[in-house]
Symmetry: C2
């Protein structure tokens, strides 16, 4: 006997279909697993177990394990984008603004080790998973424009020297903030020092702030 739609609604309904919510939950679980195990080391069953969904559902939404990883990367980059957009540096003098920018970058990296591992994983695989993505490039390089304008402002104010390439400055800032998190495990083995010890974290923050301000200072 054919069920009517009324009977379907009446019979003990499972979790209602909510594709956006499902998609979101899969992305969150996948982020954790990929960050923990790398791309090949991650296994789809483990993601399934975390989300309480099934493999076919994942493949329905993301087409393949690679598609899922690509979606995770696009998703995490959005977080950094939002931080950069929320930067409000206009009110501050150039040196104070630069200090704030470096500190926020430092803190964001320190608080998002998962993000850092994912980017490491992406680089190990030659960034092929995001190679085709046009959505990442324009919005994420906004930070370069912000940096460039801030440097110009410092030059006009007579505080900063001229001729510093904004991308090189970004490289100087990000390399430190990224590396101290990404490579903390091998550092601990080799140098017997915990880069995450709270007192030392504060000192490291001052190191990169100081290095950047001295790098830009005139004379």
């Amino acid at each position: 006997m054919k069920k009517t739609s009324v009977e379907r609604l009446a019979s003990a309904p499972r979790a209602p279909h909510d594709p956006q919510r499902t998609r979101r939950a899969i992305l969150d679980a996948a982020r954790i697993v990929f960050a923990e195990k790398g791309f090949s080391g991650a296994n789809v069953d483990e993601i399934v177990a975390r989300v309480q969904t099934t493999k076919p559902t994942i493949y329905y939404h993301f087409r393949s394990k690679e598609g899922l990883f690509a979606a995770v990367l696009e998703d995490v980059y959005a977080g950094m984008r939002d931080i950069e957009r929320s930067l409000d540096l206009q009110e501050l003098p150039a040196a104070a603004a630069m200090r704030k920018l470096v500190e926020i970058t430092f803190d964001y990296h320190a608080e998002h080790p998962d993000w850092i591992r994912l980017i490491s994983v992406a680089n190990i695989h030659g960034a092929k998973h995001i190679a085709g993505s046009e959505s990442l490039a324009p919005s994420n390089s906004a930070i370069i424009v912000i940096l460039r304008e801030l440097v110009y402002r410092g030059v006009r104010e007579g505080l900063f020297r001229d001729g510093v390439d904004a991308l090189h400055l970004h490289l100087l800032i990000n390399s430190f903030c990224f590396y101290r998190v990404s490579n903390r495990h091998t550092w601990k083995v080799i140098f017997k020092r915990d880069l995450e010890a709270p007192e030392d974290v504060e000192a490291q923050r001052e190191v990169i702030v100081g290095a950047v301000l001295r790098f830009l200072a005139r004379g």
Copy 2:
């Protein structure tokens, strides 16, 4: 009929058993494959194909895939160790010595992308493969002693300011040299700029040399 050892020697001999050579060849091939594919992505058959050996031979020498990866890591760290040992900075004034140290670090990283990928892979896996190794720590942290003495010398010469932690300085130098190689793929996608373009490489070298010297400069 049982073969005598003379008959064995006479009959078309395969490559003679040379365990050290076999071990070396396996390590070299494994380094390439692990660097290219990560730990889980690498497959032992691919290593076998490169070396012209067999899987049981690999398992005989290294016990497991993990054991092989650990051996590769210990092996590549030795290269960096040799560079650091060969540093001869005594003749130079402190600032010139520091410049040389930074430039050599920069160049070594630039010339060894495989080494960098392997360390990234090790960190993604929490450095568990080298966690137990006591051979790595003492010899590799020699660089910290060198740095510390060089900073002291600069302070005595009145060139450098006091109070700089040698490990933080090492972090500043290495983070830049490492990151510009390790993260070049995602950078290319996001910022549309090739960090390996020869003219730009020279400029980056000057950026980190300048940043370090300005970081240390008195006043």
